[in-house]
């Protein structure tokens, strides 16, 4: 059992309603420090809704959400800003500012929150871009000139701009080809190791779940029905979970992951 300090996000009995339709019905979830949590669920079940509720983009009807042990409702404006500085968000479509270049996008949070020399900001932004696997010559390109995969990488660099403790990733590998998706998974894993990040990842990608998630939480009917490592998912009897993790597509992904494990052992 994780100790109190280790829980960075604690959601308790969260109810969220969208257009008078209840989406989350008493959801509770813990995210522990330094883990990669994969959050899965069918389309329209409210995976993104929970993420947007945690980061404060959607209002909740009732329940509490604590981040770093601070209740977001009671934090007040300055308290919220303090916390917002400590997380980074990667949106599904990247959400890069289309009128800023890549390097300006990455520097944007730094300019807002820090007082750094231009030289240092340039260097740090380039470092971040290189860390997410981009060449420094993308710096002066606009988002419209980039491919989908590059947009996600720049958006990740921006999410990491202030060295956050938590990153929220909304379907980071959607829209990427399998090789690109694999690279992105690996990148997230590497960054998580080097920077000691906590990663909250909404995903549909079984490969990502196998490859990088320490724990998985399954959302169904407005609640987390099961959370735990991959083995727990495979042992679960819930029909949707069974279908999801033991269906045709998942077997292929599972096999690939097992191969990786074997390869690693051989090395």
């Amino acid at each position: 059992m994780a100790t109190e300090d280790d829980i960075v996000i604690r959601a308790r009995d969260v109810h969220v309603t969208l257009n008078e339709r209840p989406i989350l019905k008493g959801l509770s979830l813990d995210v522990r420090r330094g883990e990669v949590l994969g959050f899965v669920g069918g389309s329209g079940q409210g995976k993104t809704v929970l993420m947007r509720t945690i980061i404060g983009l959607l209002p909740k009807v009732s329940g509490t959400i604590e981040v770093f042990g601070i209740d977001l409702d009671k934090a007040g404006e300055s308290g919220r800003h303090e916390i917002e500085r400590r997380w980074g968000v990667l949106f599904q479509q990247g959400a890069l500012f289309s009128s800023l270049t890549c390097i300006q996008n990455v520097q944007f949070p730094m300019r807002e929150y820090l007082r750094l020399s231009n030289r240092l900001m340039d260097e740090i932004a380039i470092t971040k871009l290189e860390m997410v696997g981009l060449k420094p010559d993308v710096r002066d390109k606009y988002p419209a000139e980039l491919s989908g995969g590059m947009i996600k990488r720049v958006a990740l660099a921006r999410a990491l701009a202030l060295d956050p403790e938590i990153v929220f990733l909304d379907e980071p590998t959607s829209g990427l080809d399998p090789i690109g998706a694999g690279d992105f998974d690996e990148l997230i894993r590497t960054l998580q190791h080097t920077l000691g990040l906590t990663v909250y990842m909404v995903t549909h990608d079984l490969d990502s779940l196998h490859a990088i998630c320490d724990r998985i939480a399954v959302l169904s009917d407005g609640k987390v029905i099961i959370e735990g490592p991959m083995e727990a998912m495979l042992a679960c009897d819930h029909p949707w979970v069974k279908e999801y993790f033991r269906g045709k597509r998942s077997r292929a992904a599972g096999m690939a992951a097992t191969h990786v494990l074997i390869d690693e052992r051989v090395e």
């Binding site: 289309s98 009128s99 820090l114 007082r115 750094l116 020399s117 240092l120 260097e123 740090i124 380039i126 470092t127 971040k128 290189e130 860390m131 420094p136 010559d137 710096r139 606009y142 988002p143 419209a144 000139e145 990491l160 202030l162 060295d163 590497t190 190791h193 080097t194 920077l195 000691g196």
Partner: protein, 368 residues
């Protein structure tokens, strides 16, 4: 601390984003000191936290000291940060070269760009006009392909829904012209000629011009923004791949709606302006409605009305074509949508006024 000719630095505390600004100064100072020593060493054993900002500043310290030709040793770095240091040591290896700034050259470039843009605009306008004509001919040959529903929808938007604001604005303009006329003409007892002025000015020029400018701002900008966001979301490309001509599907119904709506609005606007003028003549100038109407009947002929209203469809065409060109020139960013919408309104208002001038010369030369 300097020991012999060796500079020994010790780092402590948290080397993180919050202290990055102070750290940068410390690092720069350390580099300057290291320049005076033969060699340097930095002890990282007592740091509490390190993130990318701290790691990069450490890397920069090491690099700057080494470029100055001194040796530097890094000791005591906690093992958990090895990966991070490894990562930052690979970063920023290639310095971007700044292109030299040449003012004369820049000015020449700006000028050339403006010229190219102007030529491009002319070519695009002619192209769009041709494209529109071809689409129109195609539709005439196969009337079933014409998007009547779409046109009626746009007619509702740019015509019917614009009526209240057009009536209000032209009513006010007519009233203001009459008031000014009365005020100044009264000085030499020419009150009654105010009716001539209001009648001719409104029917020939102001009615149609004000309405065209209003429509350029109201509907031209809407067309540009719509087409632009369709372009951004690749909807126009999707149409093309389905074998449909975007000009025929999207632009023709819009422009036709505008060409029908603008003369109608210009007519309504002229009437509202005359009404406004008449009302002011009655209430402010003490001229009874009968006198006003009688004088108006003498002062104006159908010619004036024809001259005014015949300009309206051409102005509509210009507004529609400019709005469509600008809409289709939108690129990926939100900013470009704004730029093109502004350009659409500015250019179409400018061209509407130029066109009005050309028509004035034309009608003068044929003696109407």
């Amino acid at each position: 601390m300097i020991r012999g000719d060796r500079l020994e630095l010790a780092a402590a505390g948290s080397w993180t984003v919050d202290s990055a600004a102070d750290l940068e100064q410390l690092v720069d100072a350390a580099v300057a000191q290291a320049g005076r020593a033969r060699a340097a060493a930095i002890d990282m054993a007592r740091i509490e936290r390190l993130d990318t900002f701290g790691a990069w500043l450490l890397e920069r310290l090491i690099r700057d000291v080494e470029t100055a030709g001194r040796d530097i040793d890094l000791v005591g770095l906690p093992e958990r940060y090895n990966d991070l240091i490894q990562e930052t040591s690979q970063a920023n290896l290639k310095q971007p070269e700044e292109p030299p700034v040449d003012l004369v050259d820049n000015a020449a470039k700006v000028l050339r760009k403006a010229l190219v843009m102007m030529v491009r605009d002319i070519i695009l306008t002619v192209q769009m006009f041709g494209h529109l004509t071809v689409a129109m001919l195609r539709v005439i040959r196969k009337p079933r392909t014409f998007r009547l529903t779409s046109m009626v929808h746009h007619l509702d938007r740019v015509g019917w829904k614009a009526v209240p604001i057009i009536l209000l604005i032209t009513f006010l303009i007519g009233a203001i012209i009459a008031q000014q006329g009365l005020f100044h003409f009264r000085k030499f007892g020419a009150d009654v000629y105010v009716v001539d002025m209001v009648g001719i000015l409104v029917l020939r020029e102001i009615g149609v011009l004000i309405v065209a400018i209003m429509i350029a701002g109201r509907s031209g900008s809407a067309y540009t923004a719509e087409l632009g966001s369709m372009k951004m979301r690749e909807e126009i490309d999707a149409l093309q791949t389905m074998g449909l001509d975007p000009v025929e599907v999207l632009i023709l119904p819009r422009i036709l709606a505008l060409v029908i709506a603008l003369p109608a609005l210009a007519f309504l606007g002229s009437m509202a302006a005359l009404y406004g003028g008449g009302l002011v003549c009655w209430l402010y100038g003490g001229m009874s409605p009968e006198v006003f109407l009688g004088r108006l009947r003498e002062a104006i002929s159908l010619d004036h009305f024809e001259v005014g209203i015949s300009k309206a469809p051409f102005m509509a065409l210009v507004i529609g074509i400019i709005a469509s060109i600008e809409g289709l020139s939108v690129k990926g960013s939100a900013e470009s949508l704004g730029v093109q919408t502004t350009a659409s309104v500015v250019k179409s208002i400018f061209l509407v006024i130029v066109l009005d001038g050309i028509f004035a010369m034309f009608f003068a030369s044929i003696g109407k």
